[in-house]
């Protein structure tokens, strides 16, 4: 079996996404940065939110700071760059900006701590990943932010690490169930290539593939406007594609249709799914299938059994319970420092 770091090195881009604040994203990032090779291997890192502050702005608890090794590229806002303590060479002022000013890119000259705050939109992040190519970096890492699953979109990064923990839910069973659901969505099956080609450029609207293979345009802007579709969407249709966000209401309407069984519902990627677990399960139970056009490789689930409110779950128990329900490795990186 490949090691944790070995698996990460197989890809050119990685997103680390926390299912909640304080689920150990920064610990995970530091762990990876510390263990990636420094010879002939370079890394660029940024964050969709603000990361690396020593104290949590909400809970006032101490937080690990982000430590970058010499040679690492990082992108942050100019406001943070001006206050940096790390010795670094400013390489570029990008055309991206955030509420904290323009995003700048620099190369670390001597290991030190940084505050990261990069592009805040998925398009901005995607351009950032592209822009790092000119520095010949081997791996770009995006530190995703609270509830911003969009930063985990396959258009941004090829691989993904989810962090979860007591901060997400203090009840172990709930935590495991909710994490399992997200993992299930991340790991949704990809549709066949011919369908990818037909749908990949459609960013909006609801479309169907009829039994004869013809494309049907339901003439609505998004799944939110599903009420405007007067006919039964599923009549004579084997595949339904939703260009934007997939909502509870949309799946609910499919559920009320007689021909739900065998229907394949397709979305761009898992970050477009905003469907309650219960509704999703009912859809699957009725014989429906949910598939994606693009998916990124889920490398691992990392757990933090400690919550800022003082709740401490059993690390061993949590890892074990999660490992039973998800197919990817589950790590507690604080407890087990040598998994790589």
């Amino acid at each position: 079996m490949n090691s944790f770091i070995g698996e990460i090195k197989k890809y050119n881009s990685l997103s680390i996404v926390g299912l909640e604040k304080n689920t150990g994203k920064t610990v995970c990032l530091n762990y990876i940065l510390d263990r990636l090779p420094s010879d002939n291997y370079s890394v660029a890192v940024t964050s969709i939110g603000i990361d690396g502050e020593s104290k949590d702005a909400v809970t006032s608890t101490a937080k690990p700071e982000i430590v970058l090794k010499e040679g690492t590229y990082f992108s942050t806002s100019e406001a943070f760059y001006s206050r940096k303590s790390v010795l670094s060479e400013l390489k570029e002022i990008t055309s991206e900006s955030s509420s904290l000013g323009r995003i700048v890119t620099a190369k670390v000259l001597r290991e030190g701590k940084v505050l990261l705050s990069g592009p805040s939109s998925s398009q901005g992040l995607s351009r950032w990943v592209d822009g790092m190519k000119k520095y010949n970096v081997n791996l770009t890492i995006v530190d995703g932010a609270l509830s911003r699953l969009s930063s985990a979109s396959p258009i941004i990064s090829e691989s993904l690490i989810l962090t979860t923990g007591a901060a997400y839910s203090s009840d172990m069973a709930t935590l495991v169930r909710r994490t399992k659901y997200i993992v299930e969505l991340v790991e949704l099956e990809k549709v066949e290539d011919s369908l990818i080609d037909r749908f990949i450029n459609k960013d909006r609207g609801v479309w169907g593939i009829g039994e004869d293979g013809s494309m049907i345009d339901f003439k609505v802007e998004s799944s939110l406007a599903v009420e405007k579709i007067k006919d039964d969407i599923t009549a004579g249709v084997r595949v339904v594609f939703v260009g934007g966000a997939l909502t509870d209401r949309f799946v609910d309407i499919l559920l009320s249709s007689k021909q739900c069984s065998g229907l394949v519902l397709v979305v761009k990627d898992f970050t477009k799914i905003f469907v309650n677990e219960l509704i999703y399960r009912s859809f699957i139970k009725r014989g429906g299938k949910l598939k994606v056009l693009q998916r990124s490789k889920l490398i691992a689930v990392c757990v933090n059994p400690v919550a800022p409110n003082g709740v401490v779950l059993s690390s061993e128990q949590l890892c074990k319970s999660l490992a039973e329900v998800v197919k990817v490795p589950v790590y507690d990186l604080v407890k087990n420092k040598n998994i790589a």
Partner: protein
Amino acid sequence: MIFRDYIDSPCGLRFILDQLQLMSSCGRKRLLSKELITSEDEREKCYSQLKETFKTLYGNPSPQISATLASVKHKLMCLRDIEGTLLRLKGKVVLDDIDLFEIKYLALLNNAVREDIRILNISGFELNDLEDVVSILDPDGVKAEGFYVYDAYSKELANIRKELKGLKISASKGMAEVSATSDRELELLGKEKLLEVQIREELSDKLRAYSTLLLDSLNTLSDLDILLAKSLMIKSLGFCFPKVSSDGTTIYKGMFHPYIVYLYRENASGGKEKEFTPIDIDFSLESISIIGANMGGKTVVLKMLALNQLLFQFGFGVAAHSATIDIKEGVEICIEKQEDMTSGYSSFASEVKSIDKVIQRALAGERILAVVDEPARTTNPIEGTALVGALLNILKQRNISLILTTHYNVKGNYFRRFRVNGLKDGKMDYMLKETTEEDVPHEAINVARSLDVNKEWIELAQRELGNNKK
């Protein structure tokens, strides 16, 4: 008046701005703040540069020239507006790493474009040499983008950093551990910060001497962007290089309106494009009235005259086959956009007010071009005719070129008349011809009929007209 003041006038200057392929935001900003050119020297300099550039870039350019042009454009795309930083530098502020990076970036970009300009060999266009600025910010002579307080600035700094590296500060050890194990490291870090601050102060002081030169370079690069965009526009919109008039006469041959030509092209159906009729017109310091059928293009003539005068006085190519143009001190455009509710005036009041401004300027002896579309059209024809006649009269022998359109029957020979050829065999002939006939054409009913409207209405009107004549 500056470019920005005219962009929303109804002559179509905004279209020109939209079509202009500027590469940088600084180019756009600089163009918007350009003053109307009123001196012959400045005009001459502007057009000789433009001609030279156009000839080099589009008069059968070698592959090397085309490649260099592409490279300059790409560099200008990367030009950033750091006027604020440079003004702060001038104002004795100590710059931070981002500011210093921006200045180095500008200096490197300027020098690279300077090399390209040598290849393009545009005579009369030169960029400053910012080598001294580069050497201040690039002590290692790498000539690559990027900046930090380099070791090369101070031996002491280099030594401190060397020692720090040796001590391998690892923040991952956690703060407690760091303070416990490395008082020396903290001391060195403090010294390093202090030295960095000192060096930034020194660098800012040194660069301050170049702040004016740097601002000038930023402006010259912006001017280059404008120059390249103007050259391309001459080619893409089929403009001509205007001559300057020596006797106050303006002559246009084959004048056209680029926006209307563009619309015709965009709306061409089945590959068939509506053709724009180029217009010939000449005028001096005098009053002119253009009369003719509705939909005969009278207002378009006024728009073309105003637009071309502005293009000329902002140093652009001009929308005509050939043009000789008199330099004016200003352009007044009295063409109704839409009733301005905010001014609190009725359309008649705001029209009278803007014409009054023209009269004031003319009476003050200013050499201006004024185009006035159907003055007093919203009032009764008896008083309207009197107002138009008086306007043509009061401005007849001033320094002003007044061109107005009207449907009123203004009698007299104290102004020149141009008439739109009008409907011929059911088709509109937009050409202008000079006439001494005082009577205005009576084509409104025919034009309305050609628009396929209610027949009963048109016939009734025709009968009414017959009765009145009897």
